[in-house]
Symmetry: C2
Subunit: 194 residues, 2 copies
């Protein structure tokens, strides 16, 4: 979806800064030569992790203080300030699940909304090992579980799955046998493919 | 994706109103009893149209003053104020393509981003007929063309397709023969199915 990203032009001014979102505006020249005020947002990027433990993947059930019901998610969260997405991914994986890995690959980089400067980075963390008890803040309740590769694919049918920007990528894996084969190989290595 | 929609709680206050986006904040009670300021946005809903002309579908190539390159889209746009989504869909179809229909069905209602109160309505307009020359404003350059049902399905592979929230629904049609059959029947009627 990268081609949809328009970015915030250099002549734009920040007209509001909130807790998460910044609002930027600029004078845009229109096709007829007149101008109009255009608006776009910026928010912190997010990082999420497809964490591989043996022949399984770490999935989560999560509650937030303002959500009606639990939802399915992958480990992840916002980048703090200028934090590098990979550093954020490692931090969130450790905080939320207690697992670490020294074998990381960036799988997808998606800009979900054309009017928002916001990138979602999806990493694969291979050969994860358990290091310590998870420790989440007071804004999260998280339960982790290990699921099979097939159950990971089926997450794309779960209406509560909190990664809408990943759903189409997972559906493409279900549609395309070769892509699915290569993705599975990236996660688990050659020897595990039957 | 409707279950991801959290909405803006009744105790929230509007802290900024921009050209498109409103920013709302409230004091949220956390799981440990403390409170934190939470933030969410509201923006006008949008309506888009799968417009059926004979055995074809209307697709567009569109340019906007701030976009680097042309992109693929369906007829559609923002609801004006409290405008009903169906009224907006009819208005945008006529403005952008010159076509009208008296046979409308709501196909999908999607909330693309959990932190934004924003619904994208996708309508099917069956048996469209050409009424008048299109008339778009100075913020759009639009070329319409008629594409086949198969080419419509392949729009989900076009990285410039400006309806990311529709991509996963179209991919599901490609995955599921029965769903695809029923959708095609909804568009074109029983007699056209071979």
């Amino acid at each position: 979806m990268s081609t949809l990203r328009k970015g915030i032009p250099s002549n734009a001014k920040k007209v509001f800064g909130g807790k998460i979102f910044e609002v930027w505006q600029w004078e845009q020249k229109m096709f007829d030569g007149n101008t109009a005020i255009f608006e776009r947002l910026r928010r912190p990027n997010t990082a999420q992790v497809i964490a591989v433990v043996g022949d399984k993947i770490l999935a989560q059930t999560e509650e937030q203080p303002d959500s009606m019901q639990p939802f399915s998610s992958l480990p992840g969260g916002r980048c703090d300030g200028d934090e590098d997405p990979l550093v954020a991914a490692k931090r969130e994986l450790l905080e939320e699940t207690g697992y670490v890995s020294d074998d990381w690959v960036l799988w997808k980089e998606v800009n979900p909304v054309s009017k928002i400067e916001w990138t979602v980075y999806t990493f694969v963390a291979r050969n994860c090992v358990f290091k310590q008890e998870p420790h989440v803040d007071s804004g999260e309740k998280i339960t982790s579980k290990l699921i099979s590769f097939d159950d990971f694919l089926i997450l794309s049918d779960d209406p509560s799955f909190y990664s809408p920007e990943l759903v189409s990528h997972i559906l493409r894996l279900r549609l395309n046998k070769q892509e699915r084969y290569e993705f599975r190989q990236m996660l688990f290595g050659k020897q595990s493919i039957s």
